[in-house]
């Protein structure tokens, strides 16, 4: 399973988005607000699940803001931090 597929799967599972399938999630759609419609509390959960499932820590807002834009930016961040 590649990173993108795994990421979508854990987002659906850990954020209880049971109505969605990985195919429903647009790789470039915003994660927050429109798009996936996550909110600030989900951001906390997202930071935790990325650490738990990929061993990658989002240290601060400077790193987090660009990384948490979409599935593609998040995958790029995880890859840049060495997770394959």
């Amino acid at each position: 399973m590649d990173i993108k597929e795994k990421l979508k799967k854990v987002i659906i599972e850990d954020l209880n988005l049971e109505d969605l399938t990985p195919e429903d999630i647009d790789d470039d759609a915003p994660l927050f607000g429109e798009g996936l419609e996550l909110d600030s509390l989900d951001a906390v959960e997202l930071v935790v699940l990325i650490q738990r499932h990929f061993g990658v820590e989002i240290e601060n807002m400077e790193e987090g803001k660009p990384a948490l834009q979409s599935i593609n930016t998040l995958v790029a961040y995880i890859e840049s931090r060495g997770q394959k």
Partner: protein, 235 residues
């Protein structure tokens, strides 16, 4: 009798506002703040998980925060400044610089990433546990003084994610220039998975119980002059 209670409450509030201004103008040394749990706080700080200090709209938390300087760590304050807000922070009465780094809950992702970043560095984040600053989704219902109120749970979620202990503290005017800063309790939230608000209800209830205990002991020091728990879903 009701008028007498109102008088006592407003009188104390006025005294607290004056103390706040005096501290801003003359300096934090003006007040004598007693803190009995210094060692316990140092021990918590030394865990290096950051500290989430949680208080409520009681006493004079602004002016007494200087008593926590011994923790020797940057303090971040989650606070919204509304347009037209005439209430001044204590340092704004004088020429002093803001002793806190303000995190704006209306900023990017409600300031959650900033809060987590500060805690990961072992720093202090101060929040109000009795007032919702975000959407209704960030509140859970708990019992408080015989009624049901909606309290924010984002701090418990962040504590769960970072491992930071939550220190509930309240400040109380004892008379004259004397204040007491009391460490009411420490809440440790285990790592919890999922986005259900109800997961955090027990911790919000623990905060409510601590605040209830404070209010019963200090009935004229809870300065809440509007219904900040109004459930808009009931309107």
């Amino acid at each position: 009798m009701h008028l007498w209670h109102c008088y006592r409450l407003i009188l104390t509030f006025g005294q607290v506002l004056i103390d706040r201004a005096v501290v801003g103008i003359l300096g934090t040394d003006y007040l004598k703040v007693r803190l009995d749990d210094r060692e316990a706080l140092l021990k918590l700080r030394n865990e290096n998980e950051g500290l989430l200090l949680m208080t409520a709209h009681v006493g004079n938390w602004q002016a007494t925060m200087a008593a926590l300087d011994f923790l020797d760590s940057p303090v971040h304050l989650l606070m919204v400044r509304e347009a037209g807000d005439i209430d001044r922070l204590y340092h704004e009465h004088g020429e002093g610089e803001c002793p806190y780094r303000i995190i704006d809950p209306s900023g990017y992702l409600g300031g959650t990433l900033e809060m987590m970043g500060a805690l990961k560095k072992g720093e202090i984040v101060c929040v109000m546990g009795d007032r919702l600053l975000g959407s209704d989704r960030s509140g859970v219902s708990v019992d408080f003084l015989g009624g049901e109120v909606s309290l924010p749970f984002s701090a418990y979620k962040i504590a769960s994610a970072t491992g930071a202990p939550i220190v509930i503290f309240f400040t109380c005017k004892e008379g004259g220039d004397r204040y007491r800063l009391e460490l009411a309790r420490v809440i440790r939230v285990p790592q919890l998975v999922g986005r259900k608000a109800e997961l955090f209800t027990p911790y919000a209830a623990e905060f409510a119980a601590a605040l209830e205990d404070f209010c019963q002991r200090n009935p004229y020091q809870y300065f809440n002059f509007f219904d900040m728990w109004l459930n808009t879903n009931d309107e």
